[in-house]
Each structure stands twice: as C-alpha cells, then as structure tokens.
C-alpha cells in the first residue's frame, strides 16, 4: 500500500509520515494541493491520500475536486482541525471518502485503512 500526505505544516507532515511508516505504508509528502495534483500528473498513483483542508496555493477542497475530475479513484481522507459540520461539508462534497479531525492517531489511521480494504 502507498500513501500521499498533503499538508502545508511540516510538524503534521512529519507525524503523518511516521504514522504511515510504522504501519509499513510507503509514503510521500507534499506541501499543498497543487503539488498533490502535479505528482499525479507526473504519473504517480497512491492507494491513500491524506488531505489537509487549509493550504496555500491550492487548498484541500480544490485539490480533491481536481483529483476526482482527473479520474483519481484513490481513497482520499480529509484530515483537518475543522470540526463544524458546515465547515467540512464542502470538503466532503468535493469527493472525500472519509474525514478525520486532527490530530491524526494510529487508531484513526487504521479506521481509514480498513475502508480501503
């Protein structure tokens, strides 16, 4: 299984990378939605995408929408500090398969991965 971490915050990227590593999941991290789209345009594919919501250049909502328009069928899990229903509704409607509130933990990540399997 492979994963892509999309988050503009280095602390979160490092933690999410380690969480995935510890579960034996090969992973790559990028800093915003545009880099997530670009890496897919370069031909790479991932089983799982952990997508932050608030990012500069291209946020998680736009990136998710764009990836779905490109035909990307990977599991996209939104991971954000937002908790209000109306805040995350647009994110979910952009094409998420799951949403988890930060901080991401081992148990939250396992529940995401179970949905892939």
């Amino acid at each position: 299984m492979t994963a892509l971490v999309v988050d503009d915050n280095m602390v979160n990227r490092t933690i999410h990378h380690q969480l995935l590593d510890n579960l034996g999941i090969e992973n790559v991290a990028v800093g915003n939605g545009k880099e997530a789209v670009d890496i897919h345009c370069s031909g790479k594919a991932f089983d799982l995408i952990l997508m932050d919501m608030d990012m500069p250049i291209m946020n998680g909502i736009e990136a998710t929408r764009k990836l779905r328009e490109m035909g990307i069928r990977s599991m996209i899990a939104g991971v954000s500090t937002r908790s209000m229903e109306q805040e995350i509704r647009e994110f979910i409607e952009a094409g998420l398969d799951d949403y988890q509130e930060k901080p991401l933990t081992v148990s939250k990540l396992i529940s995401i991965i179970r949905k892939i399997n």
């Binding site: 915050n9 602390v11 979160n12 490092t14 933690i15 500090t81 930060k102 901080p103 933990t105």
Partner: protein, 152 residues
C-alpha cells in the same frame, strides 16, 4: 543500576507532572509511542520543528498586529496554523490559547488579540523549557546505559 533507576523515576515523575499540569496531553504520549529503533530521535525532531514553527508564527502575528490597519484574516491564518501544530504535538495549553485567540480575530478585537499573543508567547516558552528538560533527562538515562520508561 541504582543511578539509572533513580533517573528513570525522575523522568517518569517529571513526565507525569507535565500531563497533570495540563501542559501536555495524550497526543504527546502517542508521539512517544511512534518513536522506535528506526527513528530514535523522532520526538525531539518533531519538537524542534514545532519550536521553529511556533517562533515563526508568533513573529508573524506580532508583525501583523503592529500594523495601523490590522489584517485580522492574516493573524487568524497564523493562529489557525499554530492551533493545528500544537494540537498535533499535544501542547494543550498553547492550543487552548489559540482557540480563544481565533475568537478575538473573528471579532476584530485588537486588544484581545494582543493579550492572547502575550499568553501564547508565555505558554510556548513554558512548554519549550519543560520539553527541553524532559529531553535532557532522556539523554542522561541513555548516557548512563538505561532505557527510556514508557509512560501509559
């Protein structure tokens, strides 16, 4: 061995006190559990990244709040970032100040924002000192040939 046991007890007591005082929450314990022989310095690395991030964001907030016409959206963006990373590392006091700070940004209340900036700076300094002490205790245990106790 007595010296190592003593150091380990001191580490456990200090670590427990950080949780009891509400400086760290369970998320920090989760990070400690992620550390293993393949990434033996993981927690120190994450903490260092967090310190850099905090200092940069606090400076951004201070500069933005000094302006004649404060851009509260810009301040809020920095506070949101800080709330996110403090939550990820388990820095609960810093996170809680950020929650209050965001309310003042939304209300475009400069005085309230300045008070929160002072508070978040204080909480960050306190956290940094405490974590650096914790990491020093860890290094002392390892240097004496002991292992770091796992805190549940």
């Amino acid at each position: 061995m007595d010296v190592v046991n003593q150091m380990q007890r001191q580490f456990v007591d200090y670590s427990t006190s950080l949780h009891r005082e509400g400086i760290l929450d369970d998320q920090f314990t989760q990070l400690q559990k992620l550390q293993d022989e393949n990434s033996p310095d993981f927690v120190v690395e994450v903490a260092s990244l967090f310190f850099e991030d905090c200092e940069k964001l606090i400076n951004n907030m201070a500069r933005a709040l000094e302006q004649q016409g404060v851009d509260f959206k810009q301040v809020d963006a920095s506070v949101h970032q800080l709330k996110g990373s403090s939550s990820s590392i388990g820095a609960v006091q810093v996170k809680n100040v950020c929650i209050a700070f965001r309310s003042f940004c939304e209300a475009q209340n400069r005085e309230g924002c300045l008070r929160c900036l002072q508070q978040v700076t204080h909480e960050y300094s306190l956290l940094k000192n405490k974590l650096q002490t914790l990491f020093r205790l860890e290094q002392q245990i390892l240097a004496a040939g002991g292992s770091i106790p796992v805190i549940e």
